[in-house]
Amino acid sequence: MDRLLTETFWIASISGGLRLATPLIYASIGETFSQRAGVLNIGLEGYMIVGSLTSLYVAVETGTLIGLLAGGIAGMLMALLMVALSVRLSANQVVVGFALTTLGIGLTGFVFRETTPTPQDARRVSRLSEIDIPGLSDVPFLGDAIFGNNWISWMGFALVPIAWWCSARTTFGLQVRAVGEDPDAAAARGVPVVRVRSLACLLSGFLGGVGGGALMLGQVGQFQPFLTANRGFIALIVIIMASWSVWGAAVGAFVFGFFEAFSSNLRNVVSGDVPTEALNAIPFLVALTILIIGARRARMPRGLGVNYVADR
């Protein structure tokens, strides 16, 4: 157990946690906007996986930034289906969401296998280097634990206050909350309900796709079918725990990421004594716990999951 108390163990868990949290931060922030507007994207998993494959294929031809943006645009195109079918045509949000998850996993699996006849043909990107913050990165412990991230992670962290500001201080943010709480009242006040909901849903698609891109370009660097492994659903759990707050979503994403890194580091410490599978269950047990806590205290947008249809 002495090995558990080493500085390197905790540095690895915290820095790994921040890295693993990055895709969840992007995805959950976008989805927070969408859910606050009343649109539930069960298809977030689909946006993420399409974003991850697209970002890889574009990044190997161009560069990381363009790849990341392409991932976002691909996710947004998936969300466009959600907008067309659910926000506009009032098709059930959960059913369309499940379909988009399946579609995303199926499409990416198809494209990956068609373009990868042999394992040698698999496209790869190399790991991004960390960006040092002068001064801070040299602080003992914290420097390595918190300030050694690649730029995709830094951008994700920077997005949190920006998203909070947009949500709390702009007209768009206010409209988003209004159409999610009470679309009828919002419409009566002249808020274009369907347009605001569509924009928020597209934002979720874009940031979900960027999140998939962050997973690909910032972490794994190589595609495999079902790469996202339910991270889209984890983002949905994080949002409940956060009670639809942007800051809370970022914290929740870090909590899950931390325990993912923690359990994988623990593997080296207790190797042989505890089955690996039990350690791998830790982050999901944490997710279950935060889901339960979230359900106890959550205050959800009142119009969530209910399509808006204008009065005849």
Binding site: A91, G106, G305, Y308
Partner: protein, 388 residues
């Protein structure tokens, strides 16, 4: 907002005024349209990737219906979908959306194998039903915690059952790499299923095993359920929980039992996969049955005939897709794409009906129970009427 197209509502009005026969005709023709549309989009994807849609679909059709073996394969793939779909339908009708079947199939298979080992040497007449019950109980047990959490704490069952699927995947990974793994095996797997519990083949030279025949029995069960008094109570609760509770129907018990029934159904699937199809446990024993079982329940509007039709369609697409992959070299993921597109088509085609069926599930779509609207006095019915 006057310029918003409200196709769904128009559709709804048409169907409300239509007679039964007209409604069936509308239903059948729009379903066929949805399937055709999905196949056309799939064809475009094939064209873009440089494959011939005709040879691809030809290979699919051949792999789904072209021979005795192919038909057996389609049936063997449809049966689990029917059973999981029927279980999911019971939950859907009570207003619950569970995607935990995946994990419940895995745990049901483990339960069936363990029970069968316990009854090793007993007469088959005893060992087979025992394993079936073992599978069902294990499946239901895997649904118990999410069901309790939903009934007593209002924890969203979509997400909790998803997490339990993760746990089930880790559990079988552990068992098949350790305690259940035969010493000689290289890849993760269990011992062969005990002979006295094996479900034999109905037709030799195919994988059409006796377990497939459980599917029609389960459908009959669902048919009976929908018409029974208990089933009616559960429907009523799904349709309007407040009314149901004011009539003395205990909501918590409905939530709990409907999720346990769906878990048991998935557990039975674990049993037929372990005892019939594979006769051994593998990591991939549930493949994607749990997920597509729910999809089939959506497509079939939680009714027996609809579930049967949707399961046969998806079973054919899956067995055809794999055959296409081996003969034409086109990835079987295309089947997933087509199935997803069909569901999208149905989501629109069914927008009014699915919404009315799942209006019951409105509370589930909401990730947690809606305390605020209750507090402010607006009824759930008024809220969900907007969702049609």
């Amino acid at each position: 907002m006057a310029d918003e197209p409200v196709v769904a509502e128009t559709h709804d009005d048409v169907e409300l005024e239509a007679s039964g026969l007209e409604r069936a005709t509308i239903g059948a023709s729009t379903s066929i349209l949805a399937v055709l549309g999905a196949l056309i989009v799939g064809g475009v994807i094939l064209l873009v990737s440089g494959d011939s849609p005709f040879s691809a679909y030809g290979a699919m059709l051949d792999g789904a219906f072209g021979s005795k073996f192919a038909i057996g394969e389609t049936l063997a793939r449809s049966a689990p979908l029917v059973i999981v779909g029927a279980g999911a339908a019971v939950a859907l009708r009570a207003g619950m959306v569970t995607i935990g079947a995946q994990g419940q199939v895995i745990v049901g298979a483990i339960g069936a194998l363990l029970t069968a080992k316990l009854f090793d040497g007993a007469p088959s007449g005893l060992a087979i039903p025992a394993a079936a019950i073992g599978g069902a109980l294990f499946g239901a047990a895997w649904a118990l915690v999410p069901a309790l959490l939903r009934a007593y704490l209002g924890v969203n069952e979509i997400l909790s059952t998803l997490l339990f699927t993760e746990f089930a995947a880790l559990l079988i990974e552990y068992l098949l790499n350790g305690p259940l793994k035969p010493p000689a095996a290289i890849t993760p797997q269990s011992d062969a299923y005990p002979d006295n519990g094996v479900l034999g083949l109905v037709i030799d030279g195919t994988r059409f095993h006796i377990g497939v025949l459980v599917a029609p029995a389960v459908l009959l069960g669902l048919w009976w359920w929908i018409r029974s008094t208990v089933g009616f109570r559960y429907d009523l609760y799904g349709e309007n929980p407040r009314l149901a509770e004011s009539l003395g129907i205990p909501g918590r018990r409905v939530v709990l039992n409907s999720l346990l029934i769906s878990g048991a159904a998935a557990g039975v699937v674990g049993w037929i996969q372990a005892a019939g199809l594979l006769q051994r446990l593998y990591l991939e024993i549930a493949s994607e049955i749990g997920f597509f079982g729910l999809v089939v329940a959506f497509l079939g509007a939680a009714r027996p005939a609809g579930i049967l039709a949707a399961s046969l369609l998806f079973g054919a697409l899956q067995s055809g897709g794999l055959a296409m992959q081996s003969s034409e070299g086109i990835p079987a993921s295309l089947s997933d794409v087509i199935q997803a597109l069909i569901l999208l088509g149905f989501a629109v085609r069914y927008a009014p009906q699915i919404a009315s069926l799942l209006r019951r599930a409105a509370r589930s779509f909401r990730l947690v129970p809606d305390r605020s609207s209750r507090a402010s006095g607006s009824t759930p019915a008024a809220g969900s009427a907007r969702g049609r």
